[in-house]
Symmetry: C2
Subunit: 199 residues, 2 copies
């Protein structure tokens, strides 16, 4: 496509490389910046650069932070007896958004995935084990219910066995608002297996 | 929402100010940049800054360009006897993408909109009139079929009357793939009015 301006074309292409952004959205975003004030463009560019500059992994849980230790690990209000293990920071954010979990986290940095050449040693499994010093009573394995997530969960379970009182796995079942008929067989089986007493 | 990193939060907010980008997309984009190489962030930031620096309006047709005169106005292959008047550069791009128009353009820079305080003097109407020097045989008014677009079209028609052989308006009708029953009354009436002999 001819944009009659190389700079515009470059930005459309750069935007379209971001996840979930097609050429049409990218074009709309670029044209918006063209019409908007110079401050908005400069602010956006600076914010993009600041991100890489400032954000790093928490030395305890590997959550994103700008300090040595993240705000969750530092908080006195969090229950230090329970650790929720997630794949990525975005999973942590999804749980935090609910406000329903008051324990600590541990971010693995991915899942074991032989096809992609990711082994347990590439994740933060070892650092998770180091955290099980007797204070921690429960580890919730909250990796996603995918093939890789389940494989990683199994591996973590084996690693931690005997080192912590309780190892749990998030429930797999029919999503809220979902219908039995529209869910795959594995989900339906898991929903039946994970049934609880009606209360 | 607590992102545990001010820089991340800033970028999510900056991205979410772009058109069509919600908080969820903005978060996905920001996390992607965090995971991607430093080069990608730097390239994106530089491209954003370059846009404002390099892009300006063509002195003839007000299309976006990085030169004095845009590539369409400079092209020897374009038919200089016909000018298509559009509201914004994005409308020009939509027409160019089809490859079905070989004439020149004129970008108005908006529409007459009393509610927003935009008058004809704020648009490039005067410059359009200056282009009608005898070479131009037809002006196609391709403003959008909205209230403002129609008002602007009517104004342009009055301005140009007698200064050019032929003044035309793009067809309004049922979009391709559309159905009569799902279109509003005005569209159906325009589709009937604009009927042509079956060939």
């Amino acid at each position: 496509m001819d944009y009659s301006s190389k700079s515009l074309e470059d930005l459309v292409i750069a935007f379209s490389k971001l996840p979930g952004i097609g050429l049409k959205s990218a074009q709309r975003m670029a044209l918006h910046l063209l019409e908007a004030g110079k401050e908005e463009s400069e602010h956006l560019a600076q914010t993009i650069l600041a991100l890489k500059e400032n954000v790093r992994a928490c030395t305890i849980c590997f959550n994103l932070t700008e300090e040595e230790v993240c705000s969750i690990c530092r908080s006195a209000r969090r229950d230090k007896q329970i650790i929720c293990v997630v794949e990525e920071p975005k999973d942590l954010m999804a749980i935090e958004k609910t406000g329903g979990f008051t324990g600590l986290y541990h971010v693995l940095g991915g899942t074991i995935s032989p096809l992609d050449g990711v082994e347990a040693a590439d994740l933060t499994c070892r650092q998770l084990l180091d955290r099980l010093d007797g204070t921690v009573r429960e580890v919730i394995i909250a990796t996603n219910p995918t093939v890789e997530g389940e494989m990683t969960a199994a591996h973590l379970h084996d690693l931690m066995l005997g080192k912590v009182d309780r190892i749990t796995r998030i429930a797999r079942g029919i999503p809220f608002g979902g219908a039995l008929e529209f869910n795959d067989m594995v989900t339906v089986v898991k929903a039946l297996e994970g049934r609880s007493d009606y209360s």
